[in-house]
């Protein structure tokens, strides 16, 4: 393979890797930006999305955990991937609504540390529930048949089709959410609430419902990320926290509350990972933290973060 082809392949891989982080990070970022709520349980939403996606897409045999002990030999609906891609975001959206109503809302007035501790505890509980039910081992989330092959691309030659789908799905979802926040009345209220919640309420606009929606949309995005990211890695109870830390970095790099910041940060992190894997695999994971440290020292509010909005 020529150097050019190799470079393009690496960049495409980075884009795909970044896409997952973008989806998770946008949710984190808009929730943090508008509601000033730190959600350490966002990874748990990703986890729920992945397992739900797995169960809707395929029929699996539990190989460990209580479900196997209770005698379930086949689980799941086996409806295929597209239904999962539609149902899971709705499901996780509902979970997100419940979470806002019963977990986040009572804690809006408590200190930040309490919010973090609560969501951290919740993340542990969700992770443990999945570990107990399905066992700690990994499940194989097979890619859908229509997308498991290689596709011919100019310059590159062949490229795994699934990775292209991930980039495409992510781009679509990001554009939708961006439109929702930037070009609708709902988005206007949310953005106004981010700037000055008190003023918006004084104008007679109730913010509790938009806030609920923001939390739900953010959760749904994590669900989408879980479904499209599931087939890339082995599915086990730890994936939630594994995706959470890089996503936090994306938020930090991009700037809180900024969708374009999350996209930029996600792509940067993904590309850094991919390039490092290609040239110095030992340092690949360390690279993203160094990147975050550099951005932080040079521009503490994040690349596209506005100083006055960030908490």
């Amino acid at each position: 393979m020529s150097l050019l082809a190799e470079t393009v392949t690496v960049l495409l891989n980075g884009l795909q890797q970044g896409a997952i982080y973008v989806l998770v990070a946008i949710g984190l970022s808009i929730i943090l930006g508008t509601l000033k709520f730190v959600n350490f349980a966002h990874g748990a939403l990703y986890l729920i999305g992945t397992y739900a996606g797995l169960l809707i897409t395929l029929k699996i045999t539990p190989t460990g955990g209580k479900l196997a002990d209770w005698g379930y030999t086949t689980l799941g609906l086996g409806w295929g991937f597209l239904p999962a891609l539609l149902i899971v975001p709705i499901l996780v959206f509902v979970v997100g609504l419940a979470m806002e109503r019963f977990v986040a809302r009572p804690f809006y007035d408590r200190p930040d540390t309490d919010q973090i501790l609560l969501t951290f505890g919740l993340a542990i509980v969700v992770q443990e529930v999945f570990k107990i039910l399905f066992g700690g081992q990994s499940y194989n989330f097979a890619r859908p048949g229509w997308a498991s092959g290689q596709v011919g691309l100019p310059i590159v030659g062949t490229f795994p089709e699934w990775r292209l789908y991930i980039i495409g799905i992510t781009a679509t979802v990001v554009v939708l959410v961006y439109g929702l926040i930037e070009y609708t009345d709902f988005g206007l209220v949310v953005r106004a609430g981010t700037r000055d919640a008190e003023m918006v309420e004084l104008l007679g606009i109730k913010l509790s419902r938009p806030y609920l929606m923001v939390f739900g949309v953010g959760a749904a995005l994590a669900g989408v990320a879980g479904v499209v990211g599931g087939p890339l890695y082995a599915v086990n109870p730890n994936i939630g926290t594994e995706v959470l830390v890089p996503s936090f970095l994306v938020v930090v790099i991009g700037g809180v509350g900024s969708i374009s910041g999350a996209v930029l940060g996600g792509i940067l992190i993904g590309e850094t990972l991919a390039v490092m894997v290609a040239i110095a695999p030992q340092w690949s994971q360390v690279g993203i933290y160094v990147l975050a440290a550099i951005v932080l020292l040079a521009r503490p509010q994040g690349l596209l973060g506005a100083e006055e909005v960030a908490p």
């Binding site: 540390t113 609560l118 919740l122 509980v125 830390v245 440290a293 503490p300 908490p311």
Partner: protein
């Protein structure tokens, strides 16, 4: 012993009875309890009888099913959690990256023991210095942004330490296998750590425990001194309202950094002791779950009190090591039992109970965060003062 002004009636009362109290010959019980000498003496006593009570005392140890090594481990994690609490409970900063100092110290201590000297005291000093230094660097970067960011950034840079140890530094750390070459010499060149203490064998067990226990008492004394000094007062002022502390003219950022370094140093002491304890450094000591564990311990036991986190560490490790081995949860004193047997047939409440230990800890943790922000230690304190009120006391 709690440093929170828990008993408000006391405080209002105190102003009124100052004259009377200074004239009295003997200081009041509250005074004694607050004094440094008492705290250190009580800690020493507790540390000395703990392994006996936990592992060898009749009845008590039978019910608890503790063992010597777990007592040592509890003290080590207790130091870690206590130091962590200086940051969370007293300065109000939540760090999710303390694994970096615990693990860093553990590795530094291990490498030092293999390369330089195997004297346990020097090993501890080396590990602790390394942790303090890394806390300085990490704190400098993480404190660039306040509040929420601090937790995220410490988490991120803690993970960075993990990945550093995993592959780029694998030639030192041993990568995934952990560091196996720990060399342990004699304490002060005389006492072999794994040998029992002559004459006091029944009470404290081995020299290893004496070393860990001695360091633990020193740590409690140091933490107590810091918290009761004007310096520690500033930490509390920052927790209550850092803006106001800034307006008074304090350099809040520097105090926060110092609190972070102090707390990292305690984590370093604990991490070095862990290397001595296990003669091995697992890679997981750098993983973020280690940071998460110490967060759980501190919050569970009770932030904002000196001894709460140590209690939290004891509870966490007890559940992790003893309760997780329980196959069936039965009603107490049903089934065959050494001391009291009510019914021969055990009344089983839950099968395979041990497997749920982590879930149960998580649920209890969430309950504590929501309902009792002062933790189990705070609950005990409230309970104690309620009993005293019932008894007619103040």
């Amino acid at each position: 012993m709690s440093d929170e002004p828990t008993e408000t009636p006391d405080a209002t009362d105190e102003t009124g009875s100052v004259v009377e109290r200074t004239q009295r010959e003997l200081p009041s019980w509250e005074r004694i309890r607050e004094s440094e000498l008492f705290v250190v003496a009580a800690t020493t006593l507790a540390v000395a009888i703990f392994p006996w009570l936990f592992a060898r005392a009749p009845v008590v140890s039978g019910v608890l099913q503790g063992y010597q090594d777990l007592a040592t481990l509890i003290l080590i994690w207790g130091i870690f959690a206590m130091g962590f609490n200086l940051l969370l409970g007293y300065t109000g900063l939540l760090s999710f990256g303390h694994a970096a100092f615990w693990g860093g110290a553990a590795y530094a201590a291990g490498v030092f023991s293999a390369q330089v000297s195997s004297s346990p005291i020097l090993i501890i000093l080396a590990g602790t210095s390394f942790a303090a230094l890394s806390a300085w660097i990490l704190g400098f970067i993480s404190l660039r942004r306040g509040g929420i960011y601090f937790a995220i950034l410490t988490l991120a840079f803690g993970q960075m330490a993990f990945y550093m140890a995993l592959s780029p530094l694998a030639w030192i750390t041993g990568g995934e296998n952990g560091f196996t070459g720990v060399e342990l010499g004699k304490l002060f060149g005389v006492f072999q750590l794994r040998y029992p203490v002559p004459g006091l064998d029944w009470l404290v067990g081995t020299w290893k425990y004496v070393l860990v226990g001695g360091v633990a008492v020193l740590c409690v004394a140091a933490a107590n001194r810091i918290l009761h000094s004007p310096y520690g007062m500033v930490f509390r002022a920052i927790r209550e309202n850092d803006q106001r502390a800034e307006f008074v003219g304090l350099n809040v950022w520097r105090y926060k950094l110092m609190a972070f370094i102090i707390s990292g140093t305690f984590a370093g002491v604990a991490g070095s002791l862990f290397t001595i304890y296990s003669a091995y450094v697992p890679l997981s000591s750098f993983y973020w779950t280690t940071s998460g564990e110490v967060v759980i311990m501190a919050v569970l036991g009770g932030v904002g009190s000196l001894f709460g986190p140590i209690l939290g560490a004891a509870i966490y490790l007890y559940v992790e090591n003893i309760v997780s081995g329980v196959q069936q949860l039965t009603l107490p004193f049903t089934g065959p039992n050494e001391y009291v047997t009510l019914v021969q047939e055990p009344v089983v409440l839950m099968d395979g109970f041990g497997a749920y230990w982590h879930l149960i800890l998580g649920l209890v943790f969430v309950a504590v965060v929501v309902l009792f922000p002062r933790g189990i230690w705070g609950l005990l304190m409230d309970f104690g003062s309620a009993v005293r009120k019932l008894g007619g006391g103040r």
